[in-house]
Each structure stands twice: as structure tokens, then as C-alpha cells.
């Protein structure tokens, strides 16, 4: 059947262009422009995109928040933020001056209709003055409670165009939601319903910034561009998988937020589940967004559900007590500002998960996330089975199994641990590692996750964003745990000393299975 010709002709100068990653002209509207995320991540990311010539010719940024500011004061704040948080310093003043001409500010409450009238007028001005062609990317860097009013405000003010218009060469509208996306399955479903009343799913970009990290993206390349690993990637050869997201910092002034979320909602439900999906998923039929996300959803649906009977044996939570981190004495969680003295909120979770499918049957996935742990590290470790028969006299613990570890942060890289003979007359076995470090091989100035994700959203590429059914499947799984914990009589989380690797019960979880946690 002949292919349908595209409605809009292609730009012939883009054919075969190596440096081709710009988007259509557009305005990026940041809700929550006074917040930390805008200062630390979003604006530095946009500036770095400008520096790399990755922003389109027609471009502007409209910040929107409740606080009173002028365009000039907002630009000045953003200049300081970029100067402080940009990965490339010093700031290029000539480029910034030009970039800042397209930066403006709208003051208003997100639940007030006049805010959207002002925003609309501002966007119409930028269309004329900055050539943004009515294309808008709305970035919701706000608490989840404000998602609903913003979606409603955008809809009722006519700031949303349908994807059908885009297909006919008209302007586009996209919306980016920051996590947390809901606080349980019911709230995530309600939020998705609300969004679906205004936006088509193709216009929705739910951000999980872990997916923008180079190492996480490399996981797909590593697994599916090398013939070496995929044949051993399953129950035949893998004993178990460990995924760790450890932070050495505490809640860092976010006590109020943490009291509502805990680490399960903050990290496990999204980042950890995504890492598990990318590790366990089958090869997608292509790298198109839906092909990749279909495979991730299959993994989530294969997770053995948690229920009140299994949670006590499969999940351990904890809360940090006083301790020493990086040589400094630190407070307990319950002593942090805005935290209840009798808080039962967890700052550590360890879980044994089972992916009940053909590939992973019988292979446990041990996942853990914690605050105030011994060090900051995120890694995925594939622990292979031991050799079936030992030919060599080995030290007390016998021949240790091979481990493939994918380090997500810091020192991003991949290491393969194997056994080697120590040179000499005797056969002495030693654990050695083949170590690939991103920074060594490719230089350390890699783009920040937010640069990649912002540009992808502007380009309409959704592979690195989570789809509705994915988010709901993540919540469906975690709801089993959260319901068990909320039952009357469920014991409060045990404490662990700050600077340790979590409570003893987390170690016991693996010891019961004859295994132990890595100390990455």
C-alpha cells in the first residue's frame, strides 16, 4: 500500500543533519516559576540547551507563580540561578542577554481565571515578538494538588489545542507533570481522568527524571545492542537482582513534603520501579515510545502482587535515627523541621519483588531506597549464579559469583566482577573487576537529565516519559504495600542509625534467602 504523504513537507536541510535535535518554535510556560526546581534544574537546563544551539529560532519562557515579580526581577533571579547551577560556567553573558529577552513572568494564582487571561495575552505577545507560533509546552513544577486547577484553567481559557490540529500542520500543546503523580492508585486514576478530560494522552508527558539520566538510557543500549549479555539475562544464569537508590542526605528542609509522601511515594513507586522495568523488560519491537512503554507495562503487570500476608515477609521499612554521615553528626528524622515527633513515615524501604514471567521466574529482585544511608549511590546489580562445581580451592566464602553492576550515579558506569588467578606459583583466586566509567570514556560534561527531557517534550518524543497505564500499574503494585502498612496494629518502622545501610531487618530479608546486600 503506498505510504500516505506527510501533510506538512519536510525541511530538506534537516535531511541527514548530524546536529539535528532542535524542536519546533515554542513557548515554555513554567507553573511554579518561583520554586526550587525552576531555579536549580529547569532554567539551567534551558540555558544549556540554548548554549548547545538546541533551542529553536522562535523560543520564549514564561514563568508563572503567585509571588509578585516583574519581568526584570524574574530575569535577574534566573540569571543568578543559571550562574549558580548551570553545569557550564561561567555564564555566557552575550548569549544570556539574548536568551533573557524571551523570558517573561506572569503573576497569578493557579485557581484564578484572570491568571489564564493574563497568560494568554502574554503568550499571544510572544507569538508575535518571539515567533513562538502558538506552540506551547506547559511545565507543571507545582505540588500535585495544583495539577487539577491548572488543567482546568488551561482548558477553560482555550489554551489547549487538539492533536488533530497539529497533524494538519497547526500548533501543538503539550503538558509536563512533575512527580509525585498521585499518592495512591485511586488518586492517580482520578488525576489521569482529569487530565484526559482536557488533553489527549499523546500531549501528556509525566516526567521521571531518572529516565533522562545517561546511564539509565544506556541500559537499553547495553542490553539490546550487545549480543553478549542478553542470552544470560534471565533465570538460567541470574541468581538475583539488587537495585539500590541510596542517598546520604536527609529530607533537607522538605519535612512537610516527606511527612505526606515517605520514601515509598517519593522514590520507590517511580524511580525504583522504572529501574526494575528497564532491567527486566523484554526487547521492544522498536524504540518508539509506545513500543518501549508497552514492554515496561508488561513487567509491572507481571509483578507478584503484595498483600497484607506477604508484606511483613517481603517488605522492610525504616526511619533514620541520629548518626554520623560523612564525618558529621546528623539529626534523626523526627528531629527534622516540620516533622511530627512521633512520625511513622518511612525513610527507608527494602523489598523482595518477583517478576512472574517466563524469563524471571524464581529470580528475586531485591530493591531498596533510603535516606541518610552510608553513601549516595544508585546501582543495578545483576548477581549471577555460582559455578556448578568448584575446581579451585577458594577462600572461606568459596568462589564469589560474577556480578554485573550498572552504576547510575555517581561515577556512572558499568562494572563486571569476575574471578582471576593471582600471579605466582600457587593458584590463588582473586575478585577483579572490568570497569567502564562514562566520565573516562566520554568526558564528564554530559547533559543533565532535565536537558534531555525538556528537549524531548518540546520535540514530542515520549519514550522517556511514563504513560498513563504505566503510572497506574506502578501504583497498583505499591498500593498493596501501602494498604498493609496502614492497617491497625502494623508496627511502626524500626529506626536505623544515619550513615548505616538501613535497619537490621533489611539484612535479615536477604539472609532468610541465603543472600546478602551488596555494599556498593
Amino acid at each position: 500500500m503506498p505510504a500516505t504523504p506527510p501533510l506538512v513537507p519536510l525541511n530538506p536541510l534537516r535531511r541527514g543533519l548530524v546536529d539535528d535535535r532542535t524542536s519546533d518554535a515554542c513557548a515554555v510556560v513554567i507553573f511554579g516559576a518561583s520554586g526550587d526546581l525552576t531555579r536549580r534544574k529547569l532554567m539551567p537546563a534551558l540555558y544549556n540547551l540554548a548554549l548547545g544551539r538546541l533551542l529553536p529560532g522562535g523560543f520564549s519562557v514564561v514563568g508563572l507563580a503567585r509571588r509578585e515579580k516583574t519581568d526584570a526581577s524574574f530575569r535577574s533571579e534566573m540569571h543568578d540561578a543559571v550562574a549558580t547551577f548551570s553545569r557550564r560556567k561561567p555564564i555566557d553573558e552575550g548569549l544570556w542577554t539574548d536568551f533573557a529577552r524571551g523570558v517573561s513572568y506572569v503573576q497569578g494564582a493557579v485557581d484564578a481565571a484572570p491568571t489564564y487571561e493574563t497568560l494568554r495575552a502574554q503568550l499571544e505577545r510572544t507569538d508575535v515578538e518571539r515567533g513562538t507560533r502558538k506552540n506551547r509546552l506547559f511545565y507543571l513544577a507545582v505540588p500535585p494538588a495544583e495539577f487539577g486547577p491548572i488543567v482546568e484553567g488551561l482548558r477553560s481559557s482555550g489554551l489547549v489545542v487538539s492533536p488533530a490540529q497539529e497533524r494538519q500542520g497547526g500548533p501543538w500543546t503539550r503538558v509536563v507533570f512533575e512527580k509525585p503523580f498521585g499518592h495512591d492508585l485511586a488518586s492517580a486514576q482520578a488525576l489521569n481522568e482529569k487530565i484526559a478530560s482536557t488533553f489527549d494522552e499523546s500531549q501528556v508527558f509525566r516526567i521521571d527524571h531518572y529516565l533522562g539520566k545517561e546511564t539509565v538510557q544506556n541500559l537499553l543500549v547495553f542490553r539490546f545492542a550487545n549480543s553478549l549479555f542478553e542470552p544470560v539475562w534471565g533465570r538460567e544464569h541470574v541468581d538475583h537482582v539488587q537495585i539500590t537508590v541510596a542517598e546520604d542526605i536527609g529530607v533537607e528542609g522538605r519535612g512537610r513534603f516527606y511527612e505526606q509522601t515517605g520514601i515509598t511515594r517519593d522514590i520507590v513507586e517511580n524511580h525504583l520501579m522504572q529501574l526494575l522495568c528497564l532491567t527486566a523488560m523484554e526487547p521492544p519491537i522498536s524504540l518508539l515510545a509506545d513500543a518501549v512503554r508497552d514492554e515496561k507495562v508488561k513487567v509491572l503487570r507481571s509483578l507478584r502482587p503484595m498483600d497484607p500476608r506477604t508484606v511483613p515477609m517481603s517488605v522492610v521499612r525504616g526511619q533514620y535515627a541520629r548518626g554520623i554521615v560523612r564525618g558529621e553528626e546528623v539529626l534523626a528524622y523526627v528531629e527534622e523541621p516540620d516533622v511530627a515527633p512521633d512520625s511513622k513515615v518511612e525513610t527507608f524501604v527494602a523489598m523482595r519483588c518477583h517478576v512472574d514471567n517466563w524469563r524471571w521466574s524464581g529470580v528475586p529482585f531485591y530493591v531498596r531506597a533510603g535516606k541518610r544511608l552510608a553513601r549516595r549511590v544508585t546501582e543495578i546489580a545483576i548477581v549471577f549464579k555460582e559455578v556448578p562445581h568448584t575446581l579451585f580451592r577458594a577462600a572461606d566464602r568459596g568462589i564469589t559469583p560474577n556480578v554485573l553492576s550498572v552504576r547510575v550515579q555517581p561515577d556512572e558506569g558499568i562494572a563486571l566482577r569476575f574471578i582471576s588467578k593471582e600471579p605466582g606459583q600457587q593458584t590463588i583466586l582473586r575478585d577483579v573487576a572490568m570497569d567502564f566509567r562514562y566520565g573516562l570514556a566520554f568526558g564528564s560534561n554530559t547533559p543533565e537529565a532535565y536537558e534531555r527531557l525538556l528537549l524531548d517534550a518540546m520535540r514530542g518524543e515520549a519514550t522517556l516519559f511514563t504513560r498513563r497505564d504505566e503510572v497506574e500499574a506502578q501504583w497498583a503494585y505499591m498500593d498493596g504495600v501501602l494498604h498493609a502498612w496502614s492497617a491497625n496494629g502494623y508496627p511502626p518502622p524500626p529506626t536505623y542509625p544515619s550513615g548505616s545501610w538501613g535497619p537490621q531487618q533489611a539484612d535479615d530479608l536477604l539472609v532468610r534467602d541465603g543472600r546478602r546486600w551488596r555494599k556498593p
Binding site: 530538506p12 536541510l13 539535528d20 544551539r53 548569549l95 518571539r130 515567533g131
Partner: protein
Amino acid sequence: MSEPANAIARPAEVLARVESELRTFWSTPATPGHAPRTRACTMNLLVVAPTFKLAADWVPIVDEVLLALPARGIVVGLNPTGADTLTASVSAVCTPEAPGGPSVCSERIALSVGGAICARASSCIGTLCASHVPTTLVWLGSVRPDDLEFARIAGEASRLVCDASQSSLDSLAAIVSWTRGRAEADRPGITDLTWTHLGAWQELCARLFDEPRLRPLASHVTRVTVAQASPARAPLAPETALLLGWLGTRLGWKALVRAGKMELTRADERALQLELRAEPALSSSGALVSIELEAEVDGIRLRGEIAQKPRNGASNAAGTWRLEVVEGKETQHLEQVVRLGDCNVARLLERTLHRPASDPTLAEAIDWAVLCAKQTGWRA
């Protein structure tokens, strides 16, 4: 790390000494109290220069690249008309020690090969290349058709990096022709430092036609004005020629001489005006200074310009991108300050090494530019 090995020694002795020094370096324990050295090697970065002087100039450039991209660096100076000689020196290029972390080191070897030994240069180089990683050859000289010296050395490389601004279009064409003559499995990718530098200009030219209503105008360019930093009537510099070659191949332009006058025609065979301007006041480097494109169709008129600002010593050239669109009574102006890419050779090479190993559009642009230059005798 070492003084040049003895010039009158036999090549095998010189190479053995180099290998021995490399082994010694890695077996020597780190100074007590210092973090251990970590060796890293992602490729053989082989730079071959047509003179000893140019090779010496490239040693610090390679060292700078090795700090960001660990490799075994081998810088070779060739002097076939000089006395028979082979000298070598070995050094390690190490990142500063991070607190508590190891210092990461790359090896760099400098070779000077003269006289009859040049015929054996590829064998000497092959001995010194690390065997488990691919080889990237940066070829700084000109290449003639059927250039045996080049063919012997390039035959082992998986990737070729040329520098059109230091050689010529004909040399680039000879390299393209040589690679086409090789079996597909052994054909190295070709990239070029000047082409990498042009990446910014290409992207900005493409940006002029990104808006859907402006895309048809790309096929209706009526006038192109290109300025290069050169004396009047100078030949077209490789950078300018490659940019025109890229535009020509993307937009289906043809060049021909009619009644002794050069003409460019579009894909629809309509003529388009080409003006080549020299900017003698700036420098004689042949660098691209500006490009203007004008186009018109269906009542829409477009004028786009990319112009480099005076560099004032900065290695990263700033420029301006301007777009003016007139449709009926409405006129739209857009202007952006942009970076036109790094002119620091080390960073340009590093950037080139991070790009795809081969860019087919480069070979197409070279073919187009060479053909046009031959037919028309282009002069700025």
C-alpha cells in the same frame, strides 16, 4: 617521560624501547602517599602530520584531547625527503588526582620518521597501536590520488579525520575516492574538522526553514551571498565550498558555466544568484564570515542571515541568526545570538570524535563542491 630514543638505532630497537618504557610506566608503583594511576584507553588516536614541525605543534593538542578522552595518542611527523631517521618519545598524560581518587592516565607517543623509513612508517605505527581498541587516524597532510603512503597507514584505521581547512578539496576528494575503493567491511568512516565546525552553520541554515509555512521556500531560494575572510579574488576556501556543497546537495542545486559565466540553478532549473564576497580586512584564514539566503514563493518572501561576530580572542565564536519573513503586509523579524562553534582545535577534534564515525553528507558535499569548482573556477 622519556628523551627521544636514539636516532640512528634500528627501527625495531626504537620500538622495543618505546614498548619497554610503556611497560615500565605501568609497573612502577605510584609515589607513596599518592593515589594509584589508572590507565584508560578507548582508542588509538593516531595523528599523522606531513612535517616534524606540524607534528610537534599537534603534541599539546593531542595531550589536551587525551585529558578528556583517554586513548593511546600517537603523533607522527613524516619527512620522506629528509635523512633516514626514526626517533620516538613516550609520555603519560594524566588528569589531576581527585581527592581520594586515582589519576587517570593516557599514553602519548611522538614519532619522527624520515627518509626511506617513511615507507615503513605504517609497520612502526602498527607495532605501537594498542591491539584491543579501534584506531582513529587524523590525517593532516594532503592526499594525492593513489597515495601509497596514506593508503598504508589509513588501511588499519576504522575512522579517518581530515582537516579540509589545512589541505584542499582535492585532497578530501582523493580520500573519499580511496575509501570508496575499499570493501565495505573495511571502509573507514570519514569526518572532517572543518565539517564539524560547519555543523553550527548547517543547523542555523536549516532553522530558517523549520516553520511549516516556510519549508517550501527551501526549494525556492533566489539568492545566496557567502562571505569568507580572504583577500579579494582568492580561491574559494574549503569551509565555504563545503557549506555550498552541503546546500547544493540538500536543495538539488546544479552549477554550470554559460557564456563563460557561472550559474547556479535550482532543482526546478530556475537560476539562482550566488555572490561570493571576500572580507580581506578580517583575516586571510578563509573562514566563513556570513551567509545570507533569500527565497520567495506563493507571496512569502524570506531573508535569512547567519553572521559571525568578530572573535576578539575568544575561541568560541559568537554570531547572529536573523530571519525576516514578509507575507502580504506583515513582516516578521526574529534575531538570536548564537554560538557558532569552537575554533580551538583540541575541542574541535574532541567534538568530532564524539560525532558519528561517518557522515555520508560530507562525501556528497565534497563531490558537489569539487565538481562545481572544476566547472566554474570559483573565486571569492
